[in-house]
């Protein structure tokens, strides 16, 4: 199952990269020139996640947001992120606050996935 370079994958990745933020499906669809099918966008994004190029966060609005991985050298290890995400209630921007957060869990608890979101007003909107 070897990945192919397609128009869709290139364009979606470019949108994510130039944005620099975490984007939801509809944000991506807006910022894209050609119109790519909804299902395709989701499939491309999920493939990116599997390949460790992108990570996904569930916002406090229940939506999925996707952001390019940094300091997350490919698929060589477990693809986990423990940084906070900030979602602006005014402009909608979702950003990765690239400072890792150490969370102490009670005895016997094993963390697998971190989904940390704070919403409020960003520097531009406060």
């Amino acid at each position: 199952m070897k990945r192919r370079n397609t128009h869709s994958t290139a364009e979606i990745f470019e949108v994510l990269k130039s944005s620099g933020n975490a984007l939801s499906h509809d944000m991506i669809q807006e910022n894209i020139g050609s119109d790519i099918d909804r299902a395709t966008i989701y499939r491309v994004l999920n493939r990116f996640c599997e390949d460790g190029k992108v990570h996904k966060v569930i916002g406090d609005d229940g939506k999925q947001y996707f952001a390019i991985c940094h300091n997350c050298s490919g698929k060589k290890q477990v693809h986990s992120h423990n940084h906070i995400h900030f979602r602006c209630l005014h402009c909608g921007k979702v950003e990765c606050l690239e400072r890792d957060l150490a969370v102490p869990l009670p005895e016997g608890y094993v963390a697998k996935v971190h989904n940390l979101v704070i919403s409020g007003f960003c520097n531009n909107c406060s």
Copy 2:
């Protein structure tokens, strides 16, 4: 707009209280004796949230979980919680880890809502 004491509100609150955890809509519906309509359950839960008796978290599965508030003296102030929630990937339990977490945000950012969820395996399932 004064609240009324109904069969539904009493029973739903009792389920939340005796569980001690954060419950999703379907968990509540299972643990309830009589069958209360889906819409009613959501309306009751949202009313509880408005009244500061319960708080809501969006899980990393995208679902809403509701838990009784502790140390959250009613509606006298902004209803905010900054504790971590743990969701077990095996047994499905979602619990509030009642230790407040101070998260430093960049200059100019204002936090309104904390939605912090870690999923993994709980003490019973690890």
